[in-house]
Every structure is written in C-alpha cells, then in structure tokens.
Subunit: 107 residues, 2 copies
C-alpha cells in the first residue's frame, strides 16, 4: 500500500504547468496540477466532455466561468463542480508560490 504526498516533488520556479495523473479508471481520472503563475492563453476556454470537480490545495487562482462577470478568486480549500461543457478558463494563478489543484474528471 503506497502512500504518497500531494505536496512532494514540486520544484521551485516551474517553467510550465505540471499535470500528473494520480488515479485512472474507466470514467474517472484524478489529477494533480501544479501551476506557478501560468494562466490560460487569452481567449482560450476549456470545453470538456468530462465533468470536473476541482479543489485548490495550495496557492490561489482566478477562475473565469463563461457567462459570469470577471474571475472568481479561489483560495486554499475552495472547491466547485464544473459540469461537462461548462466553458471556463484560468485567469491567473499565484506568481509567488505554487498553486496546487486536485481535479476529479468523471463521466
């Protein structure tokens, strides 16, 4: 029974966002995403076939949801459900520290 830690193996000053799959089964995928200041490209929107349940484990981020005014600020512990095809984008992530997302994708 292997125990791993969500905060391990994060190097400082990541040039790119890092996505790791922690668990994958049919219709279910759990990912850790580590951001360090990255954001979605301008005018880019995620539009996914899967539902996404997401929680912030570290850092902070701004999440834009299509149809809403401005970005929602997310702090540690915040979680929400993004139904499939709910268009959204990451407006910003904390430039001062790693932002760690725990994401459950499911069908």
């Amino acid at each position: 029974m292997e125990i791993r830690n969500m905060f391990d193996a994060i190097s400082a000053n990541l040039p790119e966002e890092i996505t790791q799959t922690l668990l994958e089964r049919e219709g279910l995928r759990v990912e850790r995403i580590v951001s360090s200041g990255q954001a979605s490209p301008p005018d880019f929107w995620y539009d996914q076939d899967e539902h996404e349940w997401v929680m912030l484990l570290a850092g902070s981020a701004g999440l834009e949801i299509e149809g809403e005014d401005g970005a929602r600020s997310l702090k540690v512990g915040d979680f929400l459900l993004l139904p499939a095809h709910q268009r959204h984008r990451v407006a910003w992530t904390d430039a001062q520290c790693e932002t760690i997302w725990l994401v459950i994708f499911f069908r």
Copy 2:
C-alpha cells in the same frame, strides 16, 4: 456555480465524526470526513465493496491496513488507494485538532 470550502463549517470539539457527501454520481462518491480524536472501534475493520482513494487535508491519523505491522502515520497531503475489500481501520486521529479526510469512493 457554487464555490464551497473544505475547511468551512467545522465546529470545535465534535462529539462524533462527521461525514458529508460532496458529490454523488453512479459509481462515484466524494466525501469529506471530519474526525476529532475518534478511531475505529477495537477489532473493527472496514471491508468495502467500493475502492477508496483517500487524502488527508488536515490533522493527522493512524491507518491500519490488514496484514501490515502497526499503523501507518498519515500527515497532511498524504494519499493512498485502498482497493475494495482491503480491510483497514483508523487506529487514531489527532486529539488536538480536526482531522479532515477527502475520500473518493468508486467502483
């Protein structure tokens, strides 16, 4: 789009463990469990039909896995997969603070 926080609405000195379902779909259930010093009864073992992916979000705990010597100590951020019918029990949880578990049950 409702944003909730994993650390909200926890009262001090919980007399019992609190389990809340955060998401439920066919074959998938995400729960928050808040413990404050509770443990599994002596000689009680969980033996579940579902697989369980579990992460510690706050506090600390001892997890006994059948066939292993002694309990594994879990700290914040630790996560592991307990396959269905992998018998396990909670040997202890932190008596000084809330221990918060994020659990994904799936089939």
